[in-house]
């Protein structure tokens, strides 16, 4: 067969037309009358394979969805956290198919808080969350004008993980009461052995500010209050930054670029970092991933208080799931999410699937959780610690301009940690930069 130019052009046109037809066929109708019952083929966008597995399995779990009016299946598309929001908006603007549910990383959610994006794209889940009141943890970060637009997957409560063997060898009491005491001991340990009892991040702005936020929340400080007003220049915030800077100066706290990066892995491996305050998921992604050989040597405890006040716990990070509104499967997706996220069975299944901590506060005291032991933590009854921490878990408020604040604070906070500038001056510099950008 010989191929002439005319034939080639005709073939290319045919292939192009067939491709357009195939692409059009790939789209599924998502708008129309709501489906009230029957087969609900939900679509889900998430960045984390753990959630993908959980939701896929949950759809077939009779204990969770057996008595639902819908029969579920879940098709998952894996997308990076920032791209989920970008694509949600793009698809909505282009009137192209949207997923039934989307996993929204906590740090990305402020983008949804701007100009009514959350209200326009997602179902207000407050009718489901309001009856639970304070019994449902961590709804604040996903609240816009009183509406809750996503349900947190993991409580992400921060506790202190420490090397029991190293603490014993170095004579560090496991029940140190305050940060001030711990940093004093840490300074001595650093001088004697070069080991550190905590870490701060000196990497990118997000890592720096997130680490600082975790410390702030524990002290009772924060970046925004419940009304979204800036509270960066509070006494608590200044005190915490001063204490962190002092810890870095004395060597009690180790400066590491990325809490999940290779340098931290090396610090853990060579037992230079023997304690760290991080959320529960860090045990899996930070400790077990980097130092599996140290299984049984680590323990968890609540965080030492600050002498000036605050609690014994904090929080950092998280991923919540929202339901896209006004679609055929919206009602089905809300029902599915409620069964997975707001029932004790769903929360237990989530913990079993990926060690995601319950967001229903009452569950921490139930035998199902209290009796759980963790081999990596020397068979410690870990929910005794998490339960105590959850009882004092601080609120986490964020606002639409959090990204601006992170970029504004990152540099000055880093300089404060390195001792190049005072804590109050650093925070003031960050706030000035923030206000210059936000007020315009």
């Amino acid at each position: 067969m010989t191929l002439n130019r005319r034939g080639l052009l005709a073939g290319a046109t045919g292939i192009g037309a067939a491709g357009i037809g195939a692409l059009a066929a790939c789209s599924s109708p998502t708008q129309g009358d709501p489906l009230r019952s029957g087969q609900a083929d939900l679509t889900l966008w998430t960045h984390d394979p753990g959630y993908a597995t959980f939701f896929t399995d949950a759809a077939a779990d009779a204990g969770l969805v057996g008595d639902s009016a819908w029969t579920y299946s879940v098709e998952v598309t894996s997308i990076a956290p920032p791209d989920i929001i970008s694509r949600l908006i793009n698809q909505a603007v282009a009137q192209r198919p949207l997923p039934s549910m989307a996993g929204l990383e906590l740090g990305q959610f402020p983008r949804m808080m701007r100009e009514g994006i959350a209200e326009n794209l997602l179902v207000d889940l407050s009718p489901l969350t309001d009856p639970l009141g304070d019994g449902l943890l961590k709804t604040q970060p996903y609240t816009v004008d009183g509406g809750v637009y996503a349900l947190e997957s993991d409580n992400s409560v921060s506790v202190m993980y420490y090397r029991a063997d190293e603490f014993e060898r170095l004579g560090i009491p496991e029940d140190v009461a305050t940060w001030e005491e711990l940093l004093d001991i840490g300074a001595q340990v650093a001088a004697d052995t070069g080991q550190a009892v905590g870490m701060v991040s000196d990497g990118d702005n997000t890592a720096i500010v997130q680490g600082y936020m975790q410390a702030l929340f524990q002290r009772g400080g924060g970046l925004y209050d419940a009304d979204g007003e800036l509270i960066v220049l509070s006494e608590e915030n200044v005190e915490v930054l001063e204490l962190m800077a002092e810890g870095v100066r004395s060597g009690a706290l180790l400066s590491l670029a990325d809490p999940y990066g290779s340098a931290t892995g090396a610090a853990l491996k060579e037992s230079r970092l023997i304690a760290t305050v991080m959320p529960n998921w860090y045990k899996v992604y930070g400790l077990e991933a980097n130092v599996p050989d140290q299984a049984g040597l680590w323990r968890a405890r609540t965080i030492p208080r600050y002498a000036g006040g605050g609690g014994i716990a904090s929080t950092l990070g998280g991923t919540a799931f929202g339901v896209v509104k006004d679609q055929v499967l919206t009602d089905a997706a809300v029902d599915f999410l409620q069964r997975c996220y707001l029932t004790p069975e769903g929360q237990l299944a989530r913990y079993a699937a990926g060690a995601y901590l319950p967001t229903l506060a009452d569950l921490y005291d139930t035998p199902e959780f209290q009796n759980l032991t963790d081999p990596y933590l020397g068979d410690q009854r870990i929910f005794e610690v998490y339960g105590a921490a959850v009882a004092e878990m601080p609120a986490f408020y964020q606002a639409a301009d959090l990204a601006v604040l992170r970029d504004s604070l990152g540099g000055p906070v880093l300089r404060a940690l390195k001792g190049e500038i005072g804590a109050e001056d650093a925070l003031r510099e960050g706030v000035d930069a923030y206000e210059r950008q936000v007020s315009e």
């Binding site: 603007v93 990204a403 210059r436």
Partner: protein
């Protein structure tokens, strides 16, 4: 066939002949309009609005441009980008030329291996490169600090967390990543220089240095012009290197204009403001590109 029919046929053929060239060049213009003119026009329009992505953009005139003028972050990103661009032109370009000259030396063994090694950074994934550079330049556990500690007794340089050193690491990455790529262009240009010119210069008593400046460089002028303009335009839009290595930090000390645009659009949902910054970047890059093309004589008939 009647005379009328023949005349009609001729007219049809003439029409076909007249339109055929336009038909053949039309795909480019259709694509150019769809993928360049329309997006640029939309970008310019967006730059005059306030828009978070959903709903209708609100027309605000030149407010975004006024805001850009007073935005210290944008100023910092312009300064950083100028630094990267100057480094690329003043260091990367000459380094590539010198390496190409070395690789072009007569009798060089393993020439293909060297070429391969120099070209390797171009084909490596930027993410892998950023990870490796992160390891090499880590302040606590980095290779560079360890080597400096072993050799000179000090190694506490905060490569990625000190504003000045972070910029240096970014340009080192640019140097490492792009030098080999540019070397290939120079090498190709050098191999096109007639041997007789070198031989004649040699007969006239010119040494290697004189031959380089009097034969090689003038002959490479078109290649150099092309590389310089390409490098200038590419580096003025630098994104991957600072984004993957430092995320623009510490603070905003390595933030580039492209990153500023990305940050405004996809981290802050300020699409109108991002579009304004994009338009400014487009104008600057276009103007610099035209100036450089004119200065280097790109496309000028010799």
């Amino acid at each position: 066939m009647t005379a009328t029919a023949a005349a009609r046929s001729d007219r049809a053929q003439n029409r076909q002949r007249r339109w055929a060239p336009y038909l053949f060049i039309s795909p480019f213009f259709i694509l150019f309009t769809c993928f360049m003119v329309v997006p640029i026009g939309a970008g310019v329009y967006l730059s005059l609005t306030r828009w978070a992505g959903l709903g209708s953009p609100e027309f605000i005139g030149l407010d975004n441009y006024t805001r850009l003028l007073g935005d210290q972050s944008f100023g910092a990103s312009l300064g950083n980008t100028a630094f990267y661009t100057a480094f690329a032109l003043l260091v990367v370009l000459p380094a590539s030329l010198l390496i190409a000259q070395a690789l072009d030396a007569r009798g060089l063994k393993l020439r293909d291996l060297f070429r391969l090694v120099y070209f390797l950074p171009v084909v490596l994934s930027p993410i892998i490169i950023a990870l490796i550079f992160g390891l090499i330049f880590d302040g606590e556990y980095g290779l560079v600090n360890a080597v400096m500690e072993a050799l000179f007794g000090f190694g506490g340089v905060s490569w990625l967390t000190d504003p000045w050193w972070a910029r240096v690491v970014v340009v080192v990455l640019v140097l490492w990543r792009w030098t080999g790529y540019l070397t290939i262009f120079f090498l190709a240009g050098m191999q096109a220089v007639p041997r007789e010119l070198h031989e004649a210069a040699e007969v006239d008593g010119a040494g290697p240095v004189r031959r380089f400046f009097s034969v090689t460089l003038p002959q490479l002028r078109p290649v150099t012009a092309f590389i310089a303009v390409t490098m200038l335009v590419n580096t003025a839009q630098i994104f991957e290197e600072p984004f993957l290595l430092t995320q623009g930090g510490p603070g905003e000390s390595t933030l580039s204009v492209s990153m500023f645009v990305y940050r405004a659009a996809f981290q802050r949902q300020e699409l109108g403001y991002a579009a304004a910054a994009g338009v400014v970047m487009f104008v600057i890059v276009f103007a610099l590109g035209r100036l450089a093309s004119s200065a280097f004589g790109v496309g000028r008939t010799r």
